[in-house]
Point group: C2
Chain length 421, copies 2
């Protein structure tokens, strides 16, 4: 019999306990042993959790319990769970965590501390989709060319509504909050930070690259408007918040931002709260993994898969390698990222403005692939100019945007969305 | 250092040897050990293979070589590889196979023979997609509600062309043969037999169900016409050759056939030679896995993933469990399968025919959900009747089709396609 202790018995923790009980027959058949939850830890014992396991308020009751074989960390936060996971490993316990923030900041230290002890984290990225297993085990023959992931259900829900139903950003955010898909302070989701944690985890497995959220380009979906959506549709693109990791020569790009992608690509077809990750390997080509990115039972499904793997005796180092992987690779500085760009700006509707703008692009060596002019519905005397550029460097676009915003004929901010072809 | 012997150095075998050499850096980092191919076996030594490994014509040179740790079986066929894999296991070697036919007939004996030795087969099903790992490991917390797979690239290529370009079956088969996507005798692919082998493998992992191809319903795409495609489009369906496994009470349905599926479902969007498998678990909900189902490098990617897993020390029983899994489940007899059906028939264009046909449905308790009447372009004096039924049993539809074909007013065969809603 294998005994589990759960740190953090919230929605996911309760699902883990309940599924281990309700699906015990099939889980035991697959794991080869009976798996039971011995105890759990919560912040507040007086709250009803809907589980029949023994609860305490002291994490050390689990972490130091000699009877517990596997500690499941579902408490959230960074430094507190880091200390507890470390302690559990030092006590010789295997650990399963769903904590993406913990891994975004401490995955390399944890791999070091874990050594030969299993430390698994399938549930940390894209919820119920077994993407960690696919990338770590299923694609191990490949140098990874690129990863593109829809890894935040809140953003994908909102963008889907904006694209399919013409909803405005503010109204759809409010709806998402009412449905419980978005937090009262939605920044962590709509600002791209949640997706960045998951991207960093995948990038470690694929490239062995060490980076923290503050090292990489992270933008959210807050500035997307119906004008952008309409333009994207006209040009055959969907808009998705993507986490992108890409090998470019001896460097790796890591970035999270709203992205225009061809609407016929598989990942563009992923709607609503669903997640999906596309991985292109140098030998296998493109593979895609789709499923629910959140929810108690879906996330618990991934947590339990890790538990079963540990009980079966499977191992392999946490990030998929012990020594450096593609160790020559460096993180590409944000400014050196190359992309196609979409730019939208509101300009005074008078002679010579387009010439002024295109002259500025020309001086910065930014080549324009396409251009459209729309009425500015809010201002009679203005028009909106929309551009798609050929590939150019991030720093040139940033420079162009700053220069454009200084021009008298340009009103307000220049909106920008990167394009993946 | 781990030494590999390859039985069958054709396209996939050559890819395995070449990738192990060309991606040796990253594969060694991931596996933790150097992996080298010691030797390979071919039927005909005089043919150029494009590999630098030592070749022989006698499989026993590999299977009995005490230096070889892992035997990779890529020779095809059933009884010959069965004897060789058995021998390799008896010699204490781990085995990796891509041979779906071998597994469709001998997977349970092989699991028994393998015991604690690894016998892995990621490449047997859906090529480069790591679906075996996903189902065996990633979804182990779940009772599996259903599996639906596009697992034959030839059929999907042909159906995609018929749907998107209005191509006729015969012309597109010829084109697929010229492109090398279809064999000179295409029956194994277009008849659904290839997909059935893969379905049986997945169904064993999901349900522990034991069945052979001859036990289950297998139909191909040979009778699909442009009339069916046009009807499907009008009603919002795509047509795909699906392998379907579904839990219905205490039984499991297993079937392969052309299927109308809602065109907005993710799997309906899988075009061309690509494969995809949707798995619905009772806890995780729907997950989907997409990628290349064939090709030397893509298939070799899966073979090498298994090799790396073995070298890492991962194991777990071949089919994912040692004792019976959901052992109460029985195979649902074909006749008891329930589905919605689409029926198309060419009838004489005269009064009372529709009444005759609907009367017959009524007598068999088949309830009609929708009906259309089209001109029969080949015969002025006939029309085509197209029906969609409510859910009914397979045996009633078969009876109805036989009875309809006996009617004087019905010309030729009644075409039928099952519908998954």
């Amino acid at each position: 019999m294998v005994k589990i202790g759960i740190l953090g018995v919230g929605t996911v923790g309760a699902s883990v306990a309940n599924i281990l009980e309700e699906n015990a027959d099939i889980i035991e058949a697959r794991a080869g042993k009976k798996i039971v939850v011995k105890s759990g830890v919560v912040k507040n014992l007086s709250k009803e959790r809907g589980v029949s396991i023994k609860l305490s308020e002291d994490p050390l009751d689990v972490v130091n319990d000699p009877e517990i074989d596997i500690v499941v960390e579902l408490m959230g936060g960074i430094e507190e769970p880091y200390a507890l996971v470390k302690k559990a490993l030092e006590n010789g316990k295997a650990v399963v965590t769903a904590n993406k923030a913990l891994l975004a900041y401490h995955r390399y230290e944890l791999q070091e501390i874990a050594g030969d002890l299993p430390l698994m984290y399938e549930a940390s990225t894209a919820g119920g989709i077994p993407i960690i297993g696919a990338l770590r085990n299923g694609l191990s023959a490949n140098h990874i060319n690129s990863i593109q992931g829809i890894m935040n259900g809140t953003c994908n829900y909102m963008l889907t509504k904006m694209i399919n139903e013409g909803a405005q950003y503010d109204e759809i955010l409010k709806e998402a909050q009412e449905l419980g898909y978005a937090e009262a302070d939605p920044t962590f989701d709509v600002g791209g930070f949640d997706a960045s944690h998951k991207l960093l985890i995948l990038a470690s497995i694929a490239y062995g690259i060490d980076a923290k959220p503050e090292d990489i380009l992270i933008e959210g979906i807050e500035n997307i408007t119906q004008a952008d959506v309409a333009f994207a549709k006209d040009f055959g693109y969907a808009i998705k918040l993507l986490g992108i990791a890409k090998k470019v020569g001896e460097a790796v790009e890591l970035r999270v931002h709203a992205t225009m992608i061809p609407e016929e690509s598989m990942i563009a077809k992923v709607d609503g709260v669903m997640n999906a990750v596309t991985v292109v390997g140098d030998r296998v080509g493109e593979t895609l993994y789709y499923g629910p990115g959140a929810g108690g039972d879906a996330t618990a499904s991934a947590v339990i898969a890790d538990i079963v793997d540990i009980v079966r005796g499977n191992q392999g180092p946490m990030l998929g390698y012990k020594k450096g992987l593609e160790s020559g690779l460096r993180l590409l500085p944000k400014e050196e990222i190359c992309s196609h760009y979409y730019l939208r700006m509101s300009v005074d509707d008078k002679k010579g403005v387009l010439a002024t703008v295109t002259q500025l692009f020309s001086e910065l060596d930014i080549s324009i692939e396409g251009m459209m002019q729309n009425p500015d519905n809010d201002h009679d005397e203005r028009v909106e100019l929309l551009f798609i550029t050929h590939e150019c460097q991030e720093k040139m676009i940033q420079e162009a945007m700053q220069a454009l915003e200084k021009l008298d004929v340009i009103n307000g901010k220049v909106a920008m969305i990167r394009i993946e072809k």
